[in-house]
Subunit: 257 residues, 2 copies
DNA sequence: GACACTCTACTGGTCTGACCAGTAATGCAC
DNA sequence: GTGCATTACTGGTCAGACCAGTAGAGTGTC
């Protein structure tokens, strides 16, 4: 006979658990409305404070959205990659996890995304990738260099391009995780602002990235899965090559190719 | 001139944000104690209810641990892969994300983990892998078949083996994500209990997995990175081969090899 | 009938103040 | 010193109150 450890579960956790299991089992769908707090305190036989704590947790984890005054009650939300982004970011603050780890992880994810995208038969998704690559090319061609918004736009377009590849992989987990890592890296980059390159160097970078994107698009279009993975990792490696120390680059190398 | 959208930030979010930024900036470390709720309501000039809502969120996301009666106050916790596991699991409840996605994602992660582990020079970590593989082998040799705990133990040892590989990769993100996906799959498997194979088939499976593990250990030891990735994905593919439909297996194939 | 407006009955957000069960450390008895 | 009751806290929960905000019903206008 084996005993299970008794877990003391608090009232608010009970409410969270019940609502989450409602979603899990398909009784609650994104867009559905929950009863109001005053209603919930009756159905769960607890005080409003307890109900509120449960709602706060659900709100903070992106499960529901609460808006004061809305008589329809809290809304059940669809899943968002942001929910992954927070714990991922938090992890990088931890002793032992470095930015290099984050980049290595990204390299790994983007590589496999490219592979899956190339292997996929989803032509529509492949066309979206081509369109995003074209966007980058267009920006590169028209780039003057003096534009203040250029770094921002460059980042957005490049991010969109990678996002399209992840979407074409057909795996939502890959998509969400990739997006979260991407977001985390953007946040980190924003925090350590100032390492923006000069505008001529930036244009150079942009041109290079646009060409890389075009080449990768070709591989994916042709369905060369292994080639796409190789190129995707090489591209990202090159992107980071002169931004990281040799030591940091060393951890990326095994994944390239 | 560009304006930024005004974000209405509620009181409790402010507290959460301040405590999280304290951790982010290194003023708060795991193991540190926060002031008690009554103290916090003074420093933040809010009511206890608001402080509590903030603490609940921090507690639910694994940032702090609160214990009633402890005069030292809430404890700041180190990061745990569990924090990733919850949103990951939640994602699979979503329309459009299937178990096959989860398994595909796992295949992808384990493959890259094996590659990095093989490329790594960390001999200690490699020895741990060998030890875990030996554990599996020992269980396989001594397996009677009638043991009720066998499925459980098999799962734990296999999980430990993969965990050791992820650890050897040297990337904490890979480690945490892999662990989370592993945990999520275990949870899913537990939910759909009943598909446990007969005890003879289980022993067969166990033997097969133990041999696969031994072979993979060899590759990693020898530093054959690409070979290790190939074998790792093949092993997992074989593991799932007769548990999934052909359609589900099809999404895994591009990653094998 | 279509539209713009006001109003009302709710919503969630916050506060106050209270009681209870649990715990760490204090200090006492031995 | 060691073991144990005490104490002064802690967080968990409850009740009741007020406020600002919103959706939708109701009203008026054209």
């Amino acid at each position: 006979m084996r005993f299970e450890p008794v877990k003391k579960i608090s009232s608010y956790e009970m409410i969270v658990e019940q609502i989450e299991s409602g979603i899990r089992e398909g009784n609650l769908h994104p867009g559905d409305r929950l009863p109001g707090e005053r209603r919930l305190m009756e159905t769960f036989s607890v005080s409003r404070a307890t109900v509120r704590e449960a709602m706060r947790v659900l709100h903070a984890t992106g499960v529901v959205n609460t808006r004061a005054g809305d008589p329809r009650g809290p809304e059940v939300l669809p899943f968002t990659p942001e929910a992954l982004e927070r714990p991922l970011l938090r992890m990088t603050y931890q002793e032992g996890t470095t930015r290099a780890d984050l980049i290595q992880f990204r390299l790994l994810l983007e590589g496999q995304s490219a592979l899956l995208a190339a292997a996929s038969g989803d032509q529509d998704a492949k066309e979206v990738i081509a369109a995003r690559a074209a966007d980058l090319m267009a920006l590169a061609d028209g780039a003057a260099g003096a534009d203040t918004d250029l770094p921002e736009e460059f980042g957005v377009l490049l991010s969109n391009f990678h996002s399209a590849i992840r979407a074409a992989s057909g795996n939502q987990l890959l998509q969400a995780t990739g997006q979260a890592v991407d977001g985390a890296l953007t946040t980190l980059a924003r925090q350590r602002l100032g390492d923006e390159p000069g505008s001529t160097a930036l244009v150079q970078r942009l041109r290079c990235s646009a060409q890389d994107a075009a080449a990768l698009t070709e591989y994916i279009h042709d369905g060369d899965a292994v080639g796409a993975r190789k190129l995707a990792t090489e591209n990202i490696y090159r992107f980071y090559k002169d931004r990281l120390t040799d030591q940091e680059l060393a951890v990326l190398e095994p994944l390239v190719g």
